[in-house]
């Protein structure tokens, strides 16, 4: 952490330049409509994760502390909790939406998502 390893003006400048790149790249992908669907989604996710890694390494100096690495351990545990909370919520709510569909929503869903055509009358 900050007490053990400080970084220098040049390492902060490198971090800053990288973070600018990881801001402009996804911004132009979205505004210039480069890619779509899951390709765009995963590109945005990769840029966001790279951005966060740059900030953690160059600005917060994570992982450069002396052993035992309590900061990194706390950070790792936080990440686990965050992933469970966010993806768990999305999973549960998707499941709930699926099982509580009613009337016209069900008809629409089976036509769109499961490609089942209704009977022609």
């Amino acid at each position: 952490m900050t007490t053990n390893s400080h970084g220098s003006v040049s390492s902060y400048a490198v971090g800053f330049m990288l973070s600018l790149i990881f801001t402009f790249a996804p911004y132009f992908m979205v505004t210039q409509h480069i890619g779509q669907g899951w390709v765009l989604g995963s590109a945005l996710a990769i840029f966001a994760v790279s951005q966060v890694l740059v900030q953690l390494v160059f600005f917060l100096h994570l992982g450069r502390e002396k052993r035992p690495r309590w900061h990194s351990l706390a950070f790792g545990f936080m990440t686990v909790v965050v992933v469970i909370v966010v993806f768990g919520s999305l999973w549960i709510m998707n499941n709930l939406n699926y099982h509580t569909m009613s009337g016209p929503t069900v008809d629409q869903y089976i036509q769109d998502e499961e490609a089942i055509k209704p009977y022609a009358r």
Binding site: H6, S19, V30, T31, G41, L44, Q55, V82, G88
Partner: protein, 197 residues
């Protein structure tokens, strides 16, 4: 007791304080995670109103993002200047960081007031409730950061560089970098994914 031993004890105390603050930041991350989860679940529930794609102006958000990124860089420079005991430089970088933070907050409040005056307040839909809660909580953190920065500048002005003012500056820089990281996720999840949906 020798001064060297005293210094060692002092350093150990500082490390403990920084670790304690780090744990606070980690719990704050969990708070933001719950708000992100809420937003992710509710972002399509617009109650027939416009969604993220129609409501948000991307150049405006890019400006906010660049301002906050730059302020994260300048607080780092303030910490480096403090380690070299260059007082004038510390004041300058803290002032720059404060101005950038205040500019960010001004832009955010401008965005909020525009949305509300056009009838897209937090009462309009679940999507907007989740949006205002998530982005507003980040804005509140920025506001407390600005207050903290004012106090910090006053303390350095009164006491100079003592062990405790240096420690507080280090803690503040952690807090400010953390707010920048949270904004990266807001930028991606709310604005970029919203505009591309």
């Amino acid at each position: 007791m020798t001064t060297q031993a005293e210094q060692k004890i002092h350093q150990a105390e500082t490390n403990k304080t920084i670790f304690g603050f780090w744990v606070y930041i980690m719990t704050d991350c969990v708070l933001f995670a719950t708000l992100f989860a809420t937003y992710a679940v509710l972002h399509n529930n617009t109650f027939g109103g416009p969604g993220a794609r129609e409501l948000f102006s991307m150049p405006f958000v890019l400006a906010e993002t660049l301002i906050l990124l730059t302020s994260s860089f300048t607080i780092g420079l303030a910490v480096l200047a403090a380690r070299q005991k260059r007082l004038a430089l510390v004041y300058s970088w803290l002032a720059v960081t404060f101005i950038l933070g205040a500019a960010f907050l001004g832009l955010e409040l401008h965005e909020f007031s525009n949305l509300v005056s056009e009838g897209h307040s937090w009462r309009a839909s679940a999507f907007l409730s989740a949006f205002f809660t998530l982005v507003g909580t980040h804005g509140l953190h920025i506001t407390s950061g600005l207050i903290w920065m004012t106090v910090l500048i006053a303390q350095i002005f009164r006491k100079g560089f003592t062990g405790s003012t240096l420690k507080r500056l280090a803690l503040f820089s952690l807090f400010w970098h953390f707010l920048d990281i949270v904004w990266v996720f807001i930028f991606t999840v709310v604005y970029l994914l919203g505009a591309s949906a």
